[in-house]
């Protein structure tokens, strides 16, 4: 029992380190898209590991924590996708190291809402 708790606490520590690295990436990366990349990936895994460690620390709380983990896993990529799409639409400058941008080459596609309804 005690070893399980210790493993849980170490996993929580690992998760918090990933969260910290994500924030560090947010500060150090040169342009917006790289920042979003660092922020999303590290914070998703960091939060998942933190909550997983708490499941190991107290197995009675499994249900709600599993819901929370699944929720973070679904929503976090979606929100960063929407953010990246809006940023590209507003022509945020990519960093000077960027070598190719095929989305800008293909142009902005103004979609009307009527054509897209598949229902």
């Amino acid at each position: 029992m005690e070893t399980l708790k210790l493993i849980g606490a170490i996993i929580v520590l690992l998760g918090s380190i990933f969260l910290f690295l994500g924030a560090l990436g947010l500060v150090r990366m040169p342009d917006l898209f790289n920042r979003i990349q660092a922020g999303t990936k590290a914070s998703t895994l960091g939060t998942m590991l933190t909550l997983l460690g708490i499941i190991l620390l107290n197995p009675d709380w499994t249900g709600k924590l599993v819901i929370l983990i699944l929720f973070v896993l679904i929503t976090n990529p979606i929100s960063s996708h929407v953010l990246a799409r809006a940023a590209h639409f507003r022509k945020i400058k990519l960093s000077d190291k960027t070598i190719i941008d095929q989305l800008a080459d293909d142009g902005v596609e103004e979609k009307d809402d009527i054509n897209n309804s598949k229902e």
Partner: protein
């Protein structure tokens, strides 16, 4: 088709309810079933999202395999980000490339795009018809085939079996 969708969404909502309550009292289960069926009736008379899942033992096997592949990729991706962030020279070589996908159901495409966002060095920016535009932190090849092979293929063979 509608009945299958309704059935799956009710099951999903009911399992969410049970996980939230964290107990198996009969009263709770009855209330949960009533609420799930009510919400499914009101909000999902038209939705077709969940009817795209194939229900068969083979797809179940592939889902579990996919989950493992995805977890390994997620951890690899985080180590990758960590190394890039810590190293003082910031070794990046970014660009936006175009990849092609053969999936044509909504749910499969969403899961593919989310997986791309969470795997090493890639972030899906936009999705148009059969192309996904991906911001790649370390561009290895500019043409569609190379990019597709190294970004999409590893997930697609599983997702194709699950969602068609």
């Amino acid at each position: 088709m509608k009945i299958k969708s309704f059935f799956i969404i009710t099951i999903v909502l009911f399992s969410v309810w049970v996980l939230l309550n964290n107990s198996y009292e009969p009263v709770l289960l009855i209330i949960g079933a009533a609420v799930s069926i009510l919400i499914a009736l009101i909000f999902c008379t038209k939705c077709s999202v969940f009817s795209q899942i194939k229900l068969s033992p083979k797809s179940l096997f592939y889902s579990i395999a996919y989950l493992f592949v995805f977890m390994i990729e997620l951890i690899k991706s985080n180590l990758d980000v960590a190394i890039r962030v810590i190293s003082p020279k910031l070794p990046i070589n970014p660009g936006i490339v175009k990849v092609k996908t053969v999936l044509n159901t909504e749910l499969g495409r969403m899961i593919l795009a989310n997986s791309i966002t969470l795997t090493p060095g890639t972030l899906s920016v936009d999705i148009r018809d059969e192309y996904i535009y991906v911001h790649w932190i370390n561009v290895e090849g500019k043409d569609i085939e190379t990019a597709t092979n190294s970004i999409v293929k590893k997930f697609e063979k599983y997702l194709k079996e699950i969602y068609g």
